[in-house]
Structure formats: C-alpha cells, structure tokens
C-alpha cells in the first residue's frame, strides 16, 4: 500500500490550486477569514505548498494536507490581526443570499449559513477545523488525522467536544432568533422587505 502511494507522482502547487483552491477558500471562510482578505490567504497557502515541493501522496488527502497549511497560515494572520475574525460575520454568506430565487428563500438561506458560521465562532481553531472538515467537507477522521499530524483518537475527542459546543451555540442562536409576539413578526417582515429591496437594486 505505502509503496504504491510512494510511486504516485507529486502534485505540484499549480495543479493543487486548480483542484482544491475552492475547497481552501471555503475552508478559510469558515475559519473566519473575511472576503477582502480571502484571496491573499489562499495565495499564501498555495505558496507554502509550492515551497514544500507540492503534495506527496501518502495517508493524508491533498485537502486535509492543504487544510493543515491553511490552519497555520490563518493562525499567523489572526495573531497579527485580532480583528479579522470579529469582522468575518456576515461577509462570507453574501453569495448564498444573492443566488436564491425569492427574497424569503434568500433570507432563510442566509440566516442558516450565518447561524452555522456564528456557532463555529464558539469553537477554538483546533476543534473548529476538525468540525468543518468532518461535518461540512465530508473528510474521514483518518484523513484528518494524517493531514493535521495528530492521532485519530485526538480527532475523535476534539470532534466530540466540537459537536457539543457547536450544538449548544446553535441552540442559543435559534432561541434568540425566535420571533416574540408582534414585534418579532414586524422584524421578519422588515427583513424580507430589506432583502427584496437589495435584490431589486442589484
């Protein structure tokens, strides 16, 4: 098995970019990178991949290997720009809202994605990245473990904690958004009108 893997050719940074740039961009957006900085961070991730000589086939998949690089690049940036994650909310979900057929659907979709993003904000980077890779990107725990260079047991444990915290945060957000009497209904109507106006303008 390992011999067969070592015979596979190295995937260079350009090819990795063609195949996985969208994955890396989505992953970084879920980590909280704001839209205006997304391209810079994506570029930086693939430059690191380039300096490392591309992806050598092994137990990790290219996506989890890139996710590990993305995590480190983002951690460096966040260390320098503490504000980045605070500003992230609301910016990364615009595209989804723009593509919905009706304003109501657009608002509903936007709220869903925004809730998930906010619930993700309740997690630290280690657990957040594992939750994203497993629950949203469909990666296996073994591949995540290989990509991030940690034991599979650690992935299970972090995932367990991440789920608990995520669900708690999600429940809290749902409870906060639940309409309360006439004022809640007015808020929903105003939101719909606002989304409709935005759609008409654009």
């Amino acid at each position: 098995m390992n011999e067969a893997l070592s015979m596979e050719p190295v995937i260079d940074a350009g090819e990795l970019f063609r195949r996985h740039a969208a994955f890396v961009a989505n992953f970084l957006a879920r980590l909280g990178v704001i839209r205006t900085e997304l391209d810079d961070v994506v570029q930086e991730v693939f430059m690191v991949a380039h300096r490392r000589g591309g992806f050598r086939p092994g137990p990790a998949r290219p996506t989890t290997w890139l996710a590990d690089i993305a995590l480190k690049v983002n951690a460096n940036r966040v260390r320098k720009q503490r504000r980045a994650r605070v500003e992230a909310r609301g910016e990364t979900v615009e595209r989804a809202a723009d593509e919905r057929a009706s304003p109501a659907e657009a608002l509903d979709h936007r709220r869903s994605v925004d809730r998930v993003q906010q619930a993700l904000d309740a997690l630290d980077d280690d657990r957040r990245s594992i939750f994203i890779l497993f629950e949203l990107e469909g990666e296996s725990c073994e591949s995540i473990a290989s990509g991030l260079g940690i034991p599979v047991g650690t992935v299970y444990s972090r995932l367990h904690t991440a789920r608990r915290k995520f669900r708690k945060a999600h429940d809290r957000l749902l409870a906060r958004e639940r309409p309360r009497g006439p004022r809640g209904a007015v808020a929903v109507v105003l939101s719909l009108v606002w989304v409709g106006l935005r759609g008409a303008v654009s």
């Binding site: 989505n26 989804a96 979709h109 998930v116």
Partner: protein, 154 residues
C-alpha cells in the same frame, strides 16, 4: 467515549430539523472564489520565486523570515560578545603571565644573560650618562621587557 469512527451529524437520526437544514445549507455553501484569476496570480508569484504581492497584513513567510533574521542577529551578538570577552580575558592573562614571568625569571636568568650581554656590549661602549652603571637594564635591549614589567611586579 468509544474509539469507533463517529457518524456525521447529517447522517444521524433524530437530529433537530433546524440544525439539519442549517448544516445542509452550510455544507453546500460556496464563497465563490475565482479560481482562474487566483491561478494567474499564483503562477506569476511562483515564477518570481517569492510570495504573491499582497496589500494585506503580515504573512507567514514574512513572520518566518523575520524570525530567522532575529536568530541570526542574536547569534552574531552572542559571538561578538564572546569574542570581545575572550580578547579582553586573554589580554589580561598575557599581561599577568608577563608579570609573573618577569617576577619569577628575573632573579634566575636575567643576571646571567645581563652579565653576558653586559660583557659583550658594554665593554665596547662605555656608558654615555654618568649615573648609568654598566650593564644596567635600561641600556640592555635584552632586558627591556623585564624592565617594563618590573613596576607591575611591585
């Protein structure tokens, strides 16, 4: 907690409808990154051999190169300080050893050497100053070092 591979939340029965919907939408969500434009930028950066031009904040590469520079400067300072300390210490040691040599050697060797030199050189050249005795250290080049070291020995 068991070590079995966990099941995804979306595949779990009994998951709340709101959470399921939110996760499905979030999983399908795409930020719409422009891969073609990004690839052009990446290829140009790789051709230049440096990081892509950025108007953003600091980069990991910059951070790592800054760290490397700090290490080099730190090492240079340590080596420089060590060299200065070593040269000072060795200078002091040589002075001390010269003093010790002067103090210890003078009685044993100098009179003999001085006497020989005095006999050869001073016999031909009488003292020029009236107060200077023949064979005195000030006239003898062979005893010059000892003469300089003498005050320290005292």
């Amino acid at each position: 907690m068991s070590n079995e591979a966990p099941q995804r939340l979306l595949e779990t029965e009994g998951l709340g409808e709101a959470l399921r919907t939110d996760l499905q939408r979030a999983a399908a969500h795409d930020v719409g990154y422009d891969v073609d434009a990004g690839l052009v930028r990446l290829e140009s950066a790789m051709a230049r051999g440096g990081p892509p031009p950025s108007d953003g904040g600091g980069t990991a590469a910059a951070a790592s190169s800054g760290k490397g520079l700090a290490i080099v400067v730190g090492l240079a300072l340590v080596v420089g300080a060590g060299a200065i300390a070593w040269s000072l210490a060795s200078g002091q040691a040589s002075t001390e050893s010269g003093t010790v040599a002067a103090a210890g050697v003078e009685p044993a060797l100098v009179p003999e050497a001085g006497a020989e030199l005095a006999q050869t050189s001073l016999a031909a050249q009488p003292p020029t100053e009236p107060g200077t005795e023949p064979g005195s250290p000030s006239d003898d080049p062979g005893l010059l070092i000892i003469e300089e070291a003498e005050p320290e020995a005292e």
